[in-house]
């Protein structure tokens, strides 16, 4: 079947998939909302134990990477293949930086005996246990999505290099970009909810 490629249709399909991801995280935000209502002081206390600087850096890193991903699409549309490639590489590196930061953050917490079912959390205030439980689940699931996003961007990068993604055919890049922006969107909420609720 020789069909013209329906870019709008592909985009609609991608948005539908994004909706499912939004609701997936939404379920976790339901839990956060309910427990924040129940344990406000402990969420505040827990937030103070998170590193605001790293959190802010991570936020900036993701925001910039969203910019570079969007810019790579502009570049491809303008037939500036080299720029597109550079923007994409930068975006993927931002993802690496984010994950490295996360690794150090989690590592530090583990070192202080703050992890699921740890002695400290089990014997301490239950509100704190819930705060950190949600912290690990939400940032963990988010981190998994960062990895998936990086994989999608990498595939797009390969396609751009190979010329398979070009100015007249860039749905793959566009949709990978949408996924990456979603990852950014989720973090924009995660950041204040965990780091700034003080």
């Amino acid at each position: 079947m020789n069909k013209r490629i329906d870019k709008t249709g592909i985009k609609i399909g991608m948005w539908l998939f994004l909706y499912s991801e939004i609701i997936l995280f939404g379920g976790l935000f339901v839990l956060y909302a309910a427990y924040f209502y129940k344990y406000p002081e402990f969420f505040s206390e827990g937030g103070k134990e998170l590193n605001r600087v790293i959190g802010t850096v991570n936020t900036i890193v993701l925001l910039v990477s969203s910019f570079t991903v969007a810019a790579s699409i502009t570049a491809i549309q303008r037939k500036a293949k080299k720029q597109a490639v550079l923007f994409l590489i930068f975006s993927i590196l931002c993802g690496v930086v984010f994950l490295v930061n996360k690794y150090f953050e989690w590592g530090a917490k583990f070192h202080h005996d703050i992890y699921p079912n740890s002695e400290t959390l089990n014997s301490g205030e239950v509100g704190l246990n819930i705060f950190f439980g949600l912290y690990y689940i939400i940032t963990g699931l988010h981190g998994l999505h960062v990895i998936i996003g990086m994989i999608l961007l990498s595939i797009s990068l390969v396609f751009v290099l190979a010329g398979k993604v070009n100015e007249s055919r860039f749905s793959m890049l566009e949709n990978s970009g949408l996924y990456w922006h979603l990852v950014d969107l989720i973090w924009i909420f995660v950041f204040p909810l965990f780091y700034l609720v003080l």
């Binding site: 609701i23 939404g26 935000f29 339901v30 909302a33 900036i60 969203s66 922006h181 780091y195 700034l196």
Partner: protein, 95 residues
């Protein structure tokens, strides 16, 4: 190329401007978190987050230039999300 698939190209300047806005908002929300304004800290932080998210959606994700199917369904999704959280509060807030 299909004319109806005319793809709106966002210039680097415009994208950069949006990024600038996002970074400023981030700065504001971090700064405010160092100040204790009691009850308003959380709504303000969430409000700023919603604003940032709106900019990412409208410009980086191109939602401003999409058709009614995407726009309406996006609103529908967020509505469902609000119901998910909101209706749970009928329980949680009145125990």
């Amino acid at each position: 190329m299909d004319s109806q698939e005319n793809h709106h190209i966002l210039s680097y300047t415009k994208l950069g401007f949006i990024l600038g806005l996002l970074l400023v908002l981030t700065g504001i929300t971090v700064a405010v978190s160092y100040v204790d304004i009691g009850f308003f800290n959380v709504p303000l932080a969430l409000g700023i987050a919603c604003t940032k998210v709106t900019f990412v959606l409208l410009y980086f994700m191109h939602l401003k230039y999409e058709g009614p199917i995407v726009n309406l369904s996006f609103i529908g999704t967020i509505s469902f999300l609000i119901i998910m959280i909101g209706f749970t509060f009928w329980d949680v807030a009145f125990r």
